[in-house]
């Protein structure tokens, strides 16, 4: 991660293989309240992002911002990993939740009760 910084602007070169566009955009969205955010693809394998303070540029502590940015990028990459890996199971849960007219089948797993008795042995 290459960093170029002056008093008014922070520019960071990001490896596109490590941080894909979707991760960058989701992360930088949260910087758009205080910074003018620019993302451009500087080469096939690299993005260049720049942050420019919207208000009071002289009061920005860029070292803190850079630290937070690095942390947030890792967090959003983790989030994306979970989202991608669990996409199918999530869709399955929601689909199953809202199927109204499916024939109700017996539960696949054994019917047991946490307090210890076997409900199948109970005569009604």
């Amino acid at each position: 991660m290459e960093v170029l910084q002056n008093d008014k602007i922070l520019k960071v070169a990001i490896d596109a293989e490590i941080y894909p566009e979707v991760v960058l955009l989701k992360c930088l969205y949260w910087y758009s309240n205080t910074f003018e955010v620019d993302v451009r693809k500087s080469s096939t394998s690299q993005y260049e992002i720049s942050l420019k303070a919207i208000r009071h540029p002289d009061k920005v502590d860029w070292a803190i911002i850079l630290l937070k940015l690095k942390q947030d990028l890792i967090d959003f990459k983790l989030r994306q990993h979970i989202t991608d890996e669990t996409k199918t199971i999530r869709e399955l849960i929601i689909a199953k939740a809202f199927i109204y007219y499916d024939q109700q089948e017996g539960p696949v797993s054994e019917i047991t009760d946490p307090v210890g008795f076997n409900p199948q042995s109970v005569k009604v």
Binding site: R79, I82, T112
Partner: protein, 502 residues
Amino acid sequence: MITVDSSPYSNSRKFKEFSHYIASPQRYYLLPFKFHRLSPGKEVIVNEIGDLLVIPMGTTGRIVAGEINPDNISDQELFADLIANFFISVTPLPELIEVLATRYRTKKSFLDYFTSLHIFVISLRCEHTCHYCQVSRVTSDKNKYDMKRFHIDAGIAIMMKSPNPHVTMEFQGGEALLAFESIVYAVEKTKIEAEKHNKKVTYVICTNLALLTDEMIQFFFNNGILISTSLDGPAFIHNRNRHKPHASSHQLVVEGIERCRQRLGEEGISALVTTTALSLEHPEEIVDEYVRLGFHNIFLRPISPYGFATRSTDKNKYETARFLDFYKKALARIIQYNLDGYFIREDYASIILKKMLTPFPVGYVDLQSPAGLVNNVVVFNYDGAIYASDEARMLAEMNDLTFKLGTLGEDTYEEIFYGNKVSTLSEVMINEALPGCSECAFQSYCGADPVFNHTTQGDLVGHRPTSAFCERNMEIIRYLILTMDEDKKKEKIFRSWITGKS
């Protein structure tokens, strides 16, 4: 290695013995969940159905990297928690996926019956001149500002068409009791219609109680009507917020609360706080006043950015940070009362805690996804206009009709509830699909509020980084989780708020 109990009952336990998981392949599979940094040393993970686990910082990274090893003694408890709480599964398709799906459906079950709350703005007239008042008019012109009978009839007819077998008819103002005769008419008519349509109706009147008479109280008693009033704190706050010419509004409301309690019982009347710039300086005094008056709940609401309120910038525009500071101080006071043996709960926290700690949804319009507007609430204005929520009609008083759904007596039920306007709105009513919300760990505790977005940002989708709604809820939710994690006594108090048992 954990020793497994070999009692004869162990075979019928819901969760299998630990050895079952240890004997399984080391590989595990992620289930859908989200995470958020709580504090420098802690993070929280929340799964698709709102179950949460507070874990040491960096643990999410280890979970995702597949590093949680049940053979490692320090990971055994975490591994068991992750399995039991549906964060990971030892099989690609969890055995209990049906349970997950059922719990997801339960969380969304507030959608099952569609609109329940029907607000009738029975009159726009009021005898108070509150500086933050959003809509009211001080006038004696009943003809212009009271709801007409044919509009009341049309509103009742729509309410009876709701698929919901249990509806709430809420009378608001202005000051609703200025149109008491119309309320009597509406209740009597509804009783007849409800019998025909086999509906159970809960009646609520929102009033400042200044005009309360014995005849009114008897009517409330006879019809099981609940009273919702406003109490902003001790007299010096309440009277400043709620100015009534030549009278003490505080004295009137306190007397009114007592009279209602005597006839309707403690449960027959509730009070709400509206916080203003003045209130923000006195969190403890407001809580103390509720306790002094014998209340066992208090609802700390921020002032809404609608209607006349937005015009009084000096008095009403306060930063979210100030509200949060106020909220935390008031919450600390409330918790202290509970620790000292006096049960009192904060309602906003209770709504969020119920979402966190129980499998059930909460019917609170502002914190729902899909949003509560239309799905849970509809408003019939005094002039016959129909709005998607109470805030939407306040917006209409600023000549913004974005959320107007139709007109009583002119539009059919289908045109109102299934028309193009609602169809368009429904695209921005789901926080699972909103930017910023879609990745948020607190998604299942929060909601979508397109009316707030539109009002404050001029955009139905909204911009989360600058949203006061987002900032406020994120911090309150984070604070509640952290408080429970850090102090088990406080967690016990929070749990008592959702069970009602002290």
